[in-house]
């Protein structure tokens, strides 16, 4: 490069450089010199005016270890994990009739936590029979005020054991202890409290109609919020007078089985709640059992479609809460720093294992560069590591299988031409981990903009006008949730009313409350959980 050019660049670099960075010899920004036409072909005039600097990498803040947080582990010593867990059927813990067991591991270090009995055909039948008997003889006949007392008791006991359950949830599933402690556990208890209150007030929920319980509810829940999903399903079912056969996921059965212990301790009549761990085929046995009146499933759209077909032509009631690819829309007039937090919370909460995760970010073009720059800096402050450390923000990926799915989709994003941005953090050697990531230069047609990644990976797209973003946001087979960020109230109302999504958050994201209904449009499923609407899924209105 000729010396004439370096004279041109000296001033702007001074301007962009901070004193601190210079003193410490830190990289401040990378610049590229654009020469057009090439220097040797320039006229004299062009040599003065043409060469210009383009900032190819902006200055970044330095998030190092000048003052690093020491490890602050939530100690698991007082947690009584058993070596083996049995099925919970008819009020008792029983081994599987086949004698089959499977292992559940800690995804943060791949250590085996316990073995668990795997429910087969005979066990599912046993559980459904127990549930039927409990329904006919006890639960459906019980005074609603008495039913409520049992549900309250479960809620109180979850609160009492919250710390232990939070640790187990974190060890079995990989989520940070901060989340299981501050979100999963309080919300689980809150759902039982909330629905306990409804048990004797169903006639007020549906004025002029009579709400009749359905019978035996078969419930299949995922691994992303194991105890919380069990609570979402069990609490309204019990409040409405149904009995339950619940299958937790094979990767996270432990908190459901500890909930079974609570249920036993709460003296719930035998058979009212039965918990039968197993894999997909155990779930299929519940779905296909002739004496089940209602199926509630939370999980992938793929499995949801199979279940939908399986119950077609039967008397079974069905609710499905499936996948999502939520649009999180940031307008130019948004409170940007709070929106950045909303983006972070929207996609990196629970490692992105959230069906309503804000995985498609739409940024209005006028603030695109600002948002990307802030996101890049914010990403560096996410603490990835030991889920039991109270300062961990992003924990372990739930399973090897899920990690494989995430990697496959991220590779497709890179191959299709999107630009991958990741944190600089180092990852533990053992266990399943993925760096919090986001993609820029994403097109609507990329797989990473269409398919649910279910991991800590965000796809960023841009838009120019409200009409454009409404069209793009709704241009997905899913419709579970969405987010809108703007300081303008009228714009919020305009956009939320046009979003084809079950939940739309305005100037916030991933907020949950038992009194608020949750559920999807289109391929994200049907039926609502939570709130008064959640009762409807467990009653027949006469």
């Amino acid at each position: 490069m000729s010396s004439a050019v370096s004279l041109q660049i000296s001033k702007p670099i001074q301007f962009f450089t901070s004193e601190y960075a210079l003193l410490r010899n830190m990289p401040v920004c990378a610049v590229r010199i654009i020469l057009s036409p090439p220097y040797e072909f320039m006229t004299k005039q062009q040599k003065v005016t043409q060469p210009h600097l383009e900032v190819v990498k902006t200055r970044q803040l330095l998030f190092g270890d000048l003052w690093d947080y020491a490890p602050s582990l939530e100690k698991p010593d007082h947690v009584k994990l058993k070596k083996h867990y049995d099925l919970f059927i008819d009020g008792k813990f029983v081994p599987a009739k086949s004698g089959k067991t499977f292992k559940t591991i800690n995804p943060a270090n791949e250590n085996v936590l316990a073995t668990v009995s795997e429910a087969g055909e005979a066990d599912v039948d046993h559980a459904v029979k127990a549930a039927r008997r409990a329904y006919e003889k006890v639960w459906s006949k019980m005074k609603p005020t008495e039913r409520a007392k049992y549900i309250y008791r479960i809620a109180r006991m979850i609160q009492e054991k919250a710390r232990e359950l939070a640790i187990i949830e974190t060890m079995d599933g990989g989520k940070p202890i901060r989340e299981s402690r501050d979100i999963d556990l309080p919300l689980s208890a809150a759902h039982f409290f909330y629905y306990a209150g409804w048990a004797d007030k169903l006639e007020y929920a549906f004025p002029g109609r009579q709400a009749k319980s359905l019978g035996v509810a078969g419930q299949i829940i995922p691994w992303n919020f194991p105890l919380l999903m069990a609570s979402w399903k069990i609490a309204p079912a019990l409040a409405c007078g149904n009995t339950v056969v619940l299958k937790p996921s094979e990767t996270t059965p432990l908190t459901s089985l500890h909930l079974a212990e609570i249920i036993q301790e709460a003296d719930l009549p035998p058979g009212v709640v039965n918990i039968v761990p197993g894999f997909g085929k155990t779930g299929a046995m519940i779905v296909n059992h002739a004496d089940v009146n209602k199926i509630a499933f939370t999980g992938s759209t793929e499995v949801g479609k199979i279940i939908h077909k399986a119950v077609a032509g039967t008397q079974k009631h069905l609710t499905l809460e499936l996948g999502g690819k939520a649009a999180n829309i940031i307008f130019e007039d948004a409170p940007i720093d709070q929106a950045i937090e909303g983006i972070i919370n929207g996609i990196y909460f629970n490692q992105g294992h959230v069906c309503c995760a804000g995985s498609r970010l739409f940024v209005q073009e006028g603030i695109y560069e600002t948002v990307i720059r802030k996101l890049e800096d914010r990403l560096q402050t996410l603490r990835v590591g030991d889920p039991l450390d109270k300062n961990t923000d992003v924990g372990a990926i739930n399973s090897r299988e899920q990690l494989g799915k995430i990697c496959e989709l991220v590779e497709s994003g890179v191959a299709e031409g999107a630009k991958l941005h990741q944190t600089n953090c180092s990852l533990p050697e053992k266990g399943f981990w993925f760096k919090p990531s986001f993609f820029t230069d994403v097109a609507q047609s990329h797989r990473i903009a269409r398919e649910e990644i279910f991991g800590p990976v965000l796809s960023i797209l841009t838009f120019r006008t409200p009409e454009e973003v409404i069209e793009k946001a709704n241009n997905t087979p899913y419709g579970l949730s969405a987010g809108v960020w703007t300081d303008k109230g009228s714009k919020i109302f305009k956009i939320v009313n046009k979003m084809r999504a079950g939940v739309v958050w305005a100037n916030t994201f991933n907020q949950f409350d038992p009194s608020s209904p949750f559920g999807g449009y289109k391929e994200s499923g049907f039926g609502r959980e939570g709130g008064l609407h959640g009762l409807k899924a467990y009653v027949e209105l006469i």
């Binding site: 601190y20 401040v28 200055r59 803040l61 998030f63 720093d337 600002t370 109270k390 916030t508």
Partner: protein
């Protein structure tokens, strides 16, 4: 300029989230010492006297006599009448002398008097000037008047560093805090500071985070590093650590030093010392072991 509004619920949620950081063992001790080194030890009372200022300056140099690994504080902050006394006490140390000026704490004086106030404080030996903005003018929308005053005060400061006190407790909204922060930075502030300590509420964590984010955006735009000083109402070591967490996770390592972050405080010092000793010795010592100056 990065124009943005502040969502009250959002900023308070973020502050609450950052407050869940668990600072233990080595991180705690390092944080406590860091906080101590960032203190502007302050006395701003009508009853201040040379004797009081002398005592405070001694405390500033040797917060815990006999412990060589305890840092001295960053600065002392006094009324202009005591700059000379502080200067006598602190010559030869690297402890800075900050003086309030510009008709502190109300700022309701003619500009000429404010400028004279500043020039005289600098002449007497103040290294740093803590000015107040005219909140009355700010709240009635006369931003140009507020901005011009800051620019003129900056000019009058000469080599002295300028800290601009926004008195956030009187500004009413986070949006105003953001606006005032930006105005002060554009007009030449070296530091922006929350409060005089004469108005309640003084420094709060959400207000401080709004200002830290404004400082970050200003750096994004200009590359110029502005310092931050929350002042008033920070009395406990634990609270000081929460402020440091906000600095660490908003602005990063470049701001984690006394050149760019200060605490305006007095009683905080002894709680920091008590906690430092607890971390070093393993148990709490009685309050009587720490001097009240």
């Amino acid at each position: 300029m990065i124009h943005t509004t502040i969502d009250q619920v959002g900023i308070e949620e973020r502050v609450a989230r950052l407050a869940t950081r668990s600072i233990k063992t080595s991180a705690k001790l390092a944080g406590l010492k860091l906080a101590l080194s960032m203190i502007d030890l302050t006395t701003l009372e009508g009853a201040d006297s040379a004797g009081k200022v002398r005592a405070m300056c001694t405390k500033a140099r040797y917060p815990l006599p006999g412990n060589s690994d305890i840092p001295s504080v960053a600065a002392v902050c006094v009324y202009p009448n005591f700059i000379a006394e502080a200067k006598r006490q602190l010559t030869g140390t690297d402890i800075k002398i900050a003086s309030v000026a510009t008709g502190f704490p109300s700022g309701q004086y003619p500009l000429s008097i404010k400028l004279t106030d500043v020039r005289s404080a600098v002449q007497l030996g103040a290294d740093e000037i803590d000015m107040v903005i005219d909140r009355g003018a700010f709240l009635s929308g006369h931003y140009r008047k507020v901005g011009d005053e800051i620019a003129k005060v900056k000019e009058a400061c000469g080599p002295a560093h300028l800290k601009v006190i926004l008195e956030t407790g009187e500004l009413g909204t986070y949006d105003n805090v953001r606006k005032a922060s930006w105005l002060a930075m554009e007009m030449g502030a070296d530091f922006i500071k929350t409060s005089t300590g004469k108005i309640s509420p003084a420094a709060t964590r959400p207000v401080t985070l709004v200002m830290l984010e404004a400082i970050r955006d200003f750096w994004y735009e200009t590359g110029k590093m502005i310092g931050m000083k929350p002042a008033g109402g920070i009395r406990e070591a634990k609270e000081a650590l929460r402020y440091l967490v906000m600095v660490k996770e908003t602005l990063g390592d470049m701001w984690l030093n006394k050149d760019y972050f200060r605490f305006g405080a007095s009683t905080l010092t002894n709680d920091l010392l008590m906690q430092i000793m607890k971390e070093m010795k393993g148990n709490y010592q009685a309050g009587e072991y720490f001097t009240i100056d």
